[in-house]
């Protein structure tokens, strides 16, 4: 099956040039909250991807029959249903992570990326394009989370996915010289890291457009 140019663009655009976090600066709030460790960030990224993709498809299928006046309510109902399903699945199969993410799974409902994609894309495009758009935006959001969480967990607690990466013997407590950077555990540092990624992203893409 050959995908049309528009479909490809719907998927590839949000990954880089039109990234929801880097370019549209959406979804920053959860990016600060769940990126202290890599595992919750991964789970969060996947959950958001699934929810955006599915809600995009559902809304796209119903787009012709939704009355314009109450479309936000309809969108919210769809998103809320999906978020509840994901939340219940997480509680059933990945209880620890669900506890770590606590309210942030529920707060996916208010994630600006979701409503943004539904309003801006799914309401006016066919289901296949909407699916691709949802996946693209979900992954675009997820990779930022993963990069930020990677740096924060590695430098902030010396671990990755819970496994100790920095050798124990390096630490001051064990006679070494190294110390974890407590600043990395603070939300402020996540903001600075996102800023750095935006910085790098802009300087690379500005060169391309020139």
């Amino acid at each position: 099956m050959a995908l049309s140019k528009k479909t490809k663009e719907a998927f590839l655009g949000p990954l880089n040039i039109n990234n929801p976090v880097l370019v549209q600066i959406l979804g920053i709030c959860s990016a600060l909250a769940v990126t202290v460790q890599l595992k919750p960030a991964l789970v969060m990224g996947i959950s958001v991807t699934i929810i955006v993709a599915l809600s995009n498809v559902v809304i796209s299928l119903m787009r012709k029959s939704i009355p314009m006046r109450i479309r936000i309510i309809v969108q919210l109902v769809v998103v809320a249903a999906l978020v509840t399903i994901v939340s219940e699945i997480l509680k059933a199969f990945a209880y620890d992570v669900a506890m770590q993410l606590s309210v942030y799974i529920g707060l996916i409902i208010t994630n600006c990326i979701l409503m943004g994609r539904l309003e801006a894309f799914a309401m006016t495009n066919n289901p296949l394009d909407s699916l691709m758009d949802g996946l693209g935006n979900g992954f675009g959001y997820a990779w930022i989370l993963v990069v930020v969480a990677f740096v924060r967990e590695l430098l902030g607690s010396g671990k990755l996915l819970g496994y100790q990466i920095i050798p124990d013997s390096w630490y001051v407590a064990n006679g070494g010289f190294y110390e974890n950077c407590g600043m990395m555990l603070m939300p402020a540092m996540a903001l600075i890291l996102v800023g750095c990624i935006i910085w790098a992203h802009r300087s690379i893409n500005d060169k391309e457009t020139k």
Binding site: F177, E179, G182, M183, M184, I192, G195, W199
Partner: protein, 397 residues
């Protein structure tokens, strides 16, 4: 300024051909360009700026003003080390005096090397990328950073903090003169939040171990505590504790960050800054005045804790208050710029520093956070002062 310059020229006669110190003339030349170039001044007509200053001259003056603090800090590092290892039991001798200074010099010098290497390195790279001149801004920052860290901070942490501060507090805002927060304080704040165990507590302010292998056979004497006076106040249960008396505190032979302990060294620097007009006396007076007032209020009707009962004049000479008030809050870039704004800005800092000290048991010293808060509010204060002035004049018209 003219008086200074005439004195200087007279002094310079010694360095000319046939003068007393002819061989040292290159030193004279160096200082001549540092301190008195450019020498162009406006004509003395009406209300004009008479002196042609530039940022390099300002920076060098601040560095000169910091020298007493740095020298005393070095001595104090060695002195505290000798005290902690029990070498002063037999009293102070000339040999021990020199040992203290030498030990301190060797201990502090690496901080200067690291701070300048990292900071200037980044400045050069950024200047290259932006294709701009290398700005002098780091001269002062690099000189202050070693003075406001505890002597046991690992060097690599200082390197990271310096890099963080220069990049995220200065270069991203546009470089020297555009920063919102005091760069040296951001370096300290980074250390404070990133590596809290190395910035507070009883073990960081006095070097009990060796420096470059010197005194490696020495250990701290029994019952030694390296807590700073403010640190003792924050943890004590005795509501009337007075760790040291006023003059000991003012003389500065106490544990603390390297360059901030000595009152008279700081006041010496303050004199130079005020005489040359580099720093604003309004900011200093406002900080010290408000801090004493706030501390006095806590004395009179505060909670029954040791810090709240700590006399107001002791608060003034404790911790980094004097150092911050003289060298950091007055930074012309990050402080308020309107004359009236300087009073408000100083008052805010003076108030906050005592409030943080007294009411927050987690932070024995509040000067760093108070100044950073003041920095954040400085533009708003300026804006309000300017608006008020405009409105006043509108009404008059």
């Amino acid at each position: 300024m003219e008086k200074f310059y005439n004195l200087w020229k007279k002094f310079g006669k010694n360095f000319e051909e046939g003068g007393k110190w002819q061989k040292l003339s290159s030193f004279y030349d160096a200082f001549d360009t540092f301190l008195f170039t450019p020498q162009t001044t406006a004509k003395r007509v009406g209300a004009q700026i008479h002196d042609g200053g530039d940022s390099k001259r300002t920076m060098i003056l601040v560095v000169l003003a910091l020298v007493p603090c740095a020298l005393f800090g070095m001595f104090n590092v060695g002195y505290q080390h000798l005290l902690a290892t029990g070498q002063l039991a037999g009293g102070m001798t000339a040999a021990l005096w020199w040992k203290a200074f030498g030990f301190g010099l060797l201990a502090v010098l690496p901080y200067y090397i690291v701070s300048y290497l990292v900071g200037l390195g980044i400045e050069f790279v950024v200047a290259q990328i932006k294709k701009e001149e290398v700005a002098e801004g780091f001269l002062v920052t690099g000189f202050i950073i070693p003075l406001i860290v505890p002597i046991n901070t690992p060097l690599w942490m200082v390197a990271i903090a310096t890099a963080f501060a220069v990049i995220f507090a200065k270069e991203v805002f546009g470089g020297t003169g555009y920063n919102i927060f005091n760069v040296a304080l951001i370096a300290r704040a980074f250390l404070f939040f990133a590596y809290p165990t190395h910035m507070t507590g009883d073990n960081v302010f006095v070097r009990t171990g060796s420096t470059w292998g010197w005194d490696s056979d020495m250990t701290a004497v029994d019952g030694f505590s390296g807590a700073t006076p403010l640190g003792q106040l924050a943890t004590t249960a005795d509501a009337n504790l007075m760790p040291v008396d006023f003059w000991t505190m003012f003389n500065g032979l106490i544990p603390g960050s390297i360059g901030e302990t000595c009152g008279w060294a700081i006041l010496l620097g303050a004199c130079l800054l005020l005489c040359t007009g580099v720093a604003s006396w309004k900011t200093m007076v406002a900080i010290l005045g408000t801090a004493s007032l706030t501390a006095w209020l806590f004395n009179a009707c505060g909670p029954e804790t040791a810090v709240a009962n700590y006399p107001w004049y002791m608060h003034l000479v404790s911790g980094g208050l004097l150092f911050g008030a003289v060298f950091m809050a007055t930074d012309p870039v990050t402080s308020a710029r309107t004359e009236c704004g300087k009073w408000i800005y100083g008052a805010l800092i003076g108030f906050m520093v005592i409030v943080i000290r007294v009411l927050n048991p987690g932070y024995p010293e509040g000067m760093m956070l108070a100044i950073l808060l003041g920095n954040a509010f400085a533009p708003l204060i300026d804006w309000c002062v300017v608006r008020v002035n405009i409105n006043k004049r509108m009404k008059r018209a």
